[in-house]
Amino acid sequence: MDIMHADSDITFNNRIEHFLIRWGYRRGEHRVAPGLYAIGNPGRDSPVFVTANYRLSFDALRAALKGIDGYVLVLDTFGINVWCAAGKGTFGTEELIRRIEATGLAGVVSHKKLILPQLGAPGVRAPEVTKRTGFRIEYGPVRADDLPAYLKTGKATPGMRRVRFPLWDRIVLIPVELVGFALPAIVLAIVAFLGPGWLAALGLVTAVLGGTVLFPALLPYLPTKDYSTKGLLLGILLSLPYAVYQLATGLPGDWKTYASTLMFLLAMPPVTAYLALNFTGATPFPSRTGVRKEIYTYIPVIAGMAALGALMAVVLTAVKILEMI
């Protein structure tokens, strides 16, 4: 099979595509043709790196290989990143073996070593690949950026082996979160506007922005380990100004003042908490066992609060309508 060529330059067009990917545009269609690529001027001793056929994965790798001659073996992961594809098994033992054979890799290089991204390990049985193809697998660092340092020493430091989730990594997820929840949020905001009124609509939008924008940004700073309680706390914090405003501007002693205060306190936190719980899948920490436990513990609380909050909204809306006629 032919060897394709690629370089380390990230072009303006690449950057535009990266930007569109961040916003969730045509998800799953940002693919690179699977196969063997030459970067720079590789020879028979040059290292072989393996990656996914997702645009961001491939570009991160080739950018990191600036000034390094090597081969890149791109697996067909259906346009999904290494980590996620490994979890699904598409960045996996079978596809790797198939790709090694289809590209005739054994005839291209004289050595028997493949460098895989560490985060591809959940999908690959290294001993089996060696047994069936003769190629040994070395897991490189988690981040492609660390590859040059790794290649120099041939060893990944403990720091290179740890997955982290720094601010920038969390920030880049916000657009996709926003796009994903925009439609239901707009619909609910309109309902809230037609119901209790514009302040309720604003509260709802605040709670959604809290869960989709503030939550990812503030993740490590919010107290408690559980995502749901982090989200609940953030939601309560966001609902307080609304509650205080109701108490300050409503008629003192009027039950409607208290009902609308309660509405904000009860309806906003579960929205943020639910979005927070949803964010678990986008982070590299929570185990399935733990997330399941969270679901069983907090979904009843979240649903209960939301139901009571909605009840307040319905009652207030009904009274408003009755007063109008």
């Binding site: 994965s57 980590w83 082996r161 990594d169 380990k225 986008a282 399935r288 733990g290």
Partner: protein, 118 residues
Amino acid sequence: MMFNSYRQNTLELYPDRCIGCGMCANVCPHAVFTIGDRQPANLLASRRVASLANKEACMECGACQMNCPVAAIRVQSGVGCAAAMIKAALTGGPEVCGEGGCCGSGEGGNTSCCGPAK
């Protein structure tokens, strides 16, 4: 500590089988394993052996189990994604993380898996 659902997980290590190769420590993204001398030393087993230094940090990705050459590790791997689990619970379908679409976060789109509401 309250509000911590992540104290327990399904990770299990069988030191008797371990040959101390260090692969698990290499692949684990959360430094769950350390490799040290076997205590007490056992002439019939390897000198080096893996131990669980930080079991609670395990995210059940399955990398260690997949790559251990002697099947000394067991973990029920899966993705810790509430969206997928809630959807699976509601529809009775399998737990998949977004059809054809993982959002792909930083590190070259390598660290995060399911995005929101797919």
